[in-house]
Amino acid sequence: MRSSTPWGFADFCFEREAKAKRRNQPTDRSGRRIEVPKNRKPVDSVSAAMSATKTRTSSFSRNFLAANSHQIPGLKHGPNGIMFISSGIPDLDKILGGGFSLGSLVMVMEDAEAPHHMLLLRSFMSQGLVHNQPLLYASPSKEPRQFLGTLPSPAVPKDDKSSHRDPDEEKGLRIAWQYKKYFGENQQSFDRDGKHEFCNEFDLRKPLERQFLSGKCIDCVSIQDSPNLITLHDRCATFLSQFSRSDGSISSVGRIAIQSFCAPQCEYTDMEWDMLSFLRSLRAMVRSSNAVAVVTFPPSLLLPSFSIRWQHMADTLLSVKAIPDEDKELEKLLTGYQDMVGLLNVHKVAQNNTQVPVILEATTYSMKLKRRRFMVLECLNQAPIDDSSGSSYGTSGSCSVSSKTGALDF
């Protein structure tokens, strides 16, 4: 039946392309093969040739290369005609396959006792300001604008770059265990050499310079005293109307950050259905505009069934959790436990314009602060087993990442 339709040929083309992709042999437009380091993920590439092979996953999609694709800083083409903007954390971008996709609603489940969601929120906001993208920030504090003073500043690219690389890279030899750690290295240096930076690394101890904050379109809303969500809804609607996706070209990109949406300070917290319908219309508005909204919320404050409704509402769903200070068992199980500040779980990755779910290698990542400044996300690595503690079967038995995440799921 399929071959009788005009789509039969297209299906064939598509399969052929899929096969070519499976062989992992990207070619540039003239057909030459490009040498790619073996384990590098093509998604993060900035080079034009690579993005050409990447965006054309179907024979139907337009060839974006012709329209110079990198005219707007901070935007990247992804598969299925979606565009990515950076989350402000290079590792998170990589995990999500390129960043937050334009038009998606990202929800972050907070740890009720720790402010780790703020790290994600700050990076997201700072990255937008560095790329000159308008921002709407809503928070349950009295003076939301004060929060802007705590935003991190991008790390100085050149001189800092060499110094913050692992010192053992200079050495000729290193002990190679947990090989996966080293796979990303070539890739990263490649990214940095690109013409513009899609994603900056942020120095969490240095505040963002005034020049980024002044003269920009930054809208701050306090949701503490508003008795209902109409004001916030209207502010979001007017903010998003600048970025409507009516014509094909993208002139600018907006970011919305809403912190602790159902915090008890807000007067509307008992209106569960109102909050849901706000989220629903926010999602619909964002979907039809060139913007990304990040909403953080403490799920423990919601009824379980509402918490799941909220989770269904999200296009991309993340959760953060602090790790206890003195957890001896966990400490024995994982390497680098001392440097970890928390765990990040990826529950759902946006599936706009596709039906294929994104299956990640691991869903739990450790959040670490490199030199107390830069946030990095790493897969959990199991600690080498001490000979003396070899008796415990559990630790030696599970060495794959996925089986471990089961134990750490929350």
Binding site: M1, R2, T5, W7, G8, A10, D11, F14, E15, A18, T57, S58, F60, N80, G81, E272, W273, D274, L276, S277, R280, S281, A284, M285, R287, S288, L303, P304, S305, I308, R309, Q311, H312, L317, H347, K348, Q351, N352, N353, T354, Q355, V356, P357, I359, T363, S402, T405, G406
Partner: protein, 250 residues
């Protein structure tokens, strides 16, 4: 291991005059079954002249479905121009804005009814699809009765005019509630129940989850097995879905 959805089609059987309920959860979306049924209803079977689909979209805009269905080999935009695909976009025009909260759903029902009655004159087989009942609940500001009324009206309408109704809801929302009236009533209405779940061992890149299809069958007496339950696993791809029995994946 066929791309076209052999096992699923086998389990579903004939969909005309049936009510199908899809249930999924946060980890595993059942939207791909919706896409499959949409494609199946629009592609012309040999015995009928033409089919039509009324699609009520709460979750995703037209562009999303258009792109996915194009990959599956079905051009929604062309079908829309041929008056075989009717897309009711419920994302933006909030049914309840400013007015009485039931206006939206009544208006929606009115639209569906008008479309079906217009199509009925041409003797078409119409499929009504609703992509997210939980969002309809949100649109009705949490009034379960309103949604249930809507569904009962729809049920009556489609059984009168010989259409079929396909709807999707999220099962896990109701698992913690004391009185999950809505999902229970929906399950009661449904002739075919399809449940998508992740594997107990978590998500894998080879197996995206498992489907349980409970087919109540048409009650015509001579078939002995009225309740047919099939269980298989799936892997979603861009241009189709692979279905296979547990353990048979090579």
């Amino acid at each position: 291991m066929e791309q076209g959805g052999g096992l699923l089609d086998e389990a579903l059987g004939d969909l005309s005059r049936r009510v199908v309920l899809l249930e999924d959860c946060v980890d595993t979306s059942a939207a791909f079954v919706l896409h499959h049924i949409l494609k199946r209803s629009l592609s012309q079977p040999p015995h009928s002249t033409s089919n039509a689909v009324v699609f009520v979209a709460f979750a995703h805009p037209f562009s999303h479905y258009d792109r996915i269905l194009r990959r599956l080999g079905c051009n929604l935009a062309a079908q829309r121009d041929n008056n075989r695909f009717f897309f009711l976009d419920m994302l933006m025009d909030c049914p309840d804005e400013g007015k009485n909260s039931d206006c939206g759903l009544i208006a929606l029902y009115g639209k569906i009814q008008k479309t079906i009655s217009a199509l009925a004159q041409e003797n078409n087989c119409v499929t009504v699809m609703i992509d997210d009942i939980s969002l309809m609940e949100v649109a009705a500001k949490g009034s379960t009765n309103l949604v249930l009324d809507f569904l009962h009206y729809c049920h009556t309408l489609i059984s009168e005019s010989g259409c079929s109704l396909i709807m999707l809801n999220h099962k896990d929302i109701y698992s913690g509630t004391a009185k999950p009236t809505l999902i229970l009533q929906m399950e009661y209405l449904a002739d075919i129940l399809i449940r998508a779940e992740p594997l107990a061992t978590g998500l894998a890149s080879d197996v995206h989850g498992q489907l349980t299809v409970k087919n109540r069958g048409i009650y015509d007496g001579h078939e002995g097995s009225r309740n047919k339950v099939s269980n298989f696993q799936f892997k979603v791809k861009e241009n189709g879905v692979e279905y296979f029995y547990p353990g048979s994946k090579t």
